[in-house]
Amino acid sequence: MRQRRIRWVSAFVALGLVAAACGGDDDDSAEGDDEAPAEGGDFEAQSFDESAQCGTDAYAGNLASIEAVDAQTVKFTLCNPDVAFPSKVAFSALGIFPEEQLEDAASGAIIDSPIGTGPYKLEAWEKGSQIVLTANEDYWGDAPGIPTVVFRWSEESAQRLVELQSGDVDGIDNVGTEDFATVSNDSNLQLIEREPLNVFYLGFNVDKPPFDNEQLRQAIGYAIDKDRIIDNFYPEGSIAADQFLPPGIPQYQDGAETFTYDPDRARELLTEAGYPDGVDLGVLSYRATVRGYLPQPPQVASDIRDQLAQVGITVALDEQEEGAFIDNANTGALSFYMLGWGADFPDATNFWDFHFGVGASPQFGTGFDDMHEVLTEAGSTVDEDERADLYAQANELLLQHAQAIPIAYGGSAVAFDAAVEGAHASPLSNERFAVMSEEGADQLVWMQNGEPSGLYCADETDGEALRVCEQINESLLGYEVGGTEVEPALAEEWESNDDLTEWTFTLRDGVTFHDGSTFDANDVVASYRTQWDAADPRHVGREGLFTYFEALFGGFLNPPPAPAG
């Protein structure tokens, strides 16, 4: 989402196929597991079969059933094939919790003190100050390199840097644009860059004059010097945007046609639009909040205003308060504004559908039928080449309708004390502290932008929260350190049928939760069921939205009525 941090799950296609191959045999077995269940008797297998609901009006999701075949085996059945199922399963919102804690979800304890299987467990959360994690002695994998990890936060980049430089803190997130050089030149620090998985764009509400004029919008597209913006206001690693998808998304089109910087063409289009002598367009709205796609909002706004002035377009800057701005965007109240989008999961649908598909956000006004058609088709096609074609068409349509003008893909970076080994930046913003170590240090302090709102991964979307709860809770699969490849986590092996509609996971044996209870297939079923069925009494979280589950699997059982507006 635009106000969440980048969540880069993995390339659905390539990695999904790789994952399917890695999982084991590709034969048609529904129950193909080689391992005998570790536990005997006493195991009451849970299972839920909702396949009757597939494709009905009441159910928009793709999950058909989930079954604990035995204590160490879980099988998922889908309504439709999903090549990327393993990548989704690895996502942090699908972390596994003990059944008992989920029963207690309504009490809210799970939000403040989640129990998981991860390398770290929650020691203390001093609201407003710090979160302290200590190593899980009974961890099934490699013991964490540093016994204690402390999370701190500050919104000021200079503050974070001062603390890093003075040694009070060992790692910081979001190094300020101007501070890249400082960190690189400091031999006591190491700078690690993250690739940009976001897009910054200028948006228009095409229902509001004068922005209902397509030529006017195109004129603005040609009036913007993207390179100037990147060079002057973005850190290294940032790229001028040539389409709505950033390069890390698999459906990104090489060599797409885009708005180039062409003031003459801009003036021509302006004249064609009916403004031969320039025009006053009112206000350009934005918020001062720093995001990966826009590290310096006021400066960029000023520069865009200056650039527009050079082709005769006058605009006044309207800096709005964050909450008000998002509300206005969500209700279509903004005419001309600066906004962006960070990937939730790395697929074109995450970028395209939310903004331009059927039922898209009202921020752009009335959508265009031709785009709706293309996007709907692209979202339900499985063949990647077909999809690529369709999205190329979408690119052309966006160039024509120009209700959004992509400007930049914003890079970012983290910085660590040079003595920290295993320091890395994750493109998904889920740095894994368990693989880090520092000689002679028994504590690692990490400073990010903000405090988590809650630690129940299933109901969080903000990267600040997800990064913390990922250290505590694990999913069936995981992502490699600093990368996006899927690897085994709580499941040792997985396999699917040819159709890619049935997925069977073999769970690790002898894993315990932080409270000592044993991990088995029922915990997996409970964890998924809690999110899947909106009518389940356990379907309670901090906000109760379980946004990622809905985004990854299409919908809930017994969904709540859709919100108005």
Binding site: I111, K127, Q130, V132, V162
Partner: protein, 353 residues
């Protein structure tokens, strides 16, 4: 004397009522729909109808005010829409931080400001006086946020490895979680104890952990100094002008005529009376300190009342805005009442009345 106190108490009542009214209005002044702000994506018409009736937003304004007042008297300040805590709990967490910071800042301001003011006042119009005035005025003139950043730069970075090095954050060293004193002592747990245990310096003393005390102190110095500069300058200015006034009075002239040395004149005769206005200043400084604390807390990463209030105002967390401003304003009135009473005790003129 007692009559005076009683009179002051009585005249405070309408002020307190006015504060209740004002905080209620402030809460409602914040633009935007409370239901939208609280529920955001889940703000369906049905959910909002429920929300509004639960919180009474659909009642007429008078009724809302009435129930607000009733709630306040019962100690219920509502729940934060952003944090998952009641406003009272938030207060217990955050107010001690600001109190500690303000007290430290006030302490520094008095310790430095009064002697400076006396120095300048006793050498009225001399070079020392001018230097002190300009210095004090400079202190008042530096924006707190600039001073804070500069202090961080000098003491946290440049002087980092020296004995003068101080940390950049106002919080305790990462990973340090002091045990609350009531747990260490094994006594029960209630809100007051929790409140006290959140005052790091005090708690450290109560659990007899001098290492934590020193840690807290080290982290407190820079923000306290940054916050103290304005009250310090004001106190210096007040002390000086008050001393100058007193030195012009007849009884001082008499003392001088008697042949007493200037220093004795000042310390024995003039000082006590000239310090009286300073007492009132200390009480009134509370407002500046809480206001200035917003900026200091932001720069030194402390979660106190100022920062919470600012976040609540911009985040439209109505109940937090109402509750916190109410507490701050009432606190201010109470402190002023106390300083008035103290002043009356000390001021011989009033006592004679």
């Amino acid at each position: 004397m007692l009559r005076f106190i009683a009179r002051r108490l009585v005249s405070s009542i309408p002020v307190l009522f006015g504060i209740l009214l004002a905080t209620f209005v402030i809460g409602r002044l914040i633009p935007g729909d409370p239901c939208q702000a609280a529920l955001q994506e889940r703000a369906t018409p049905e959910a909002c109808a429920e929300f509004n009736s639960e919180y009474g937003f659909d009642d007429p304004v008078f009724v809302q005010f009435g129930s607000y007042v009733g709630d306040v008297f019962r100690g219920d300040l509502g729940n934060s829409l952003q944090e998952r805590q009641s406003v009272t709990d938030l207060l217990i967490d955050r107010l001690p931080v600001t109190l500690q910071l303000s007290a430290a800042a006030l302490f520094i301001a008095v310790i430095v400001g009064v002697p400076l003011g006396v120095l300048a006042g006793s050498r009225h119009n001399s070079k020392t006086d001018v230097a002190t005035i300009v210095g004090a005025n400079l202190g008042v003139s530096i924006p707190v946020f600039v001073l804070g950043l500069i202090l961080q730069y000098v003491f946290a970075l440049q002087l980092d490895d020296t004995p003068l090095g101080l940390p950049a954050s106002g919080q305790l060293t990462a990973g340090v979680i002091p045990d609350p004193f009531y747990e260490v002592w094994g006594i029960g747990h209630n809100s007051l104890f929790e409140f006290i245990s959140n005052i790091d310096l005090l708690n450290a003393v109560l659990i007899w952990r001098w290492d934590i005390f020193v840690d807290a102190l080290q982290h407190l110095i820079l923000p306290a100094v940054a916050l103290a500069t304005i009250p310090m300058a004001i106190i210096a200015r007040m002390t000086r002008s008050s001393l100058v006034d007193v030195l012009g009075l007849d009884y001082v002239r008499t003392a001088r005529a008697k042949g007493l040395r200037e220093r004795v004149v000042i310390t024995r005769h003039a000082l006590r009376n000239s310090l009286l206005p300073v007492v009132t200043v200390i009480g009134l400084s509370l407002g500046t300190l809480v206001g200035g604390a917003i900026l200091t807390e932001t720069i030194f990463n402390l979660t106190g009342v100022g920062k919470t209030l600012f976040d609540a105002i911009t985040g439209r967390d109505y109940f937090v805005v109402q509750g916190f401003t109410l507490v701050v304003a009432i606190g201010f009135v109470v402190v002023n009442l106390i300083t008035d009473i103290v002043y009356t005790f000390l001021d011989p003129k009033v006592r004679v009345d």
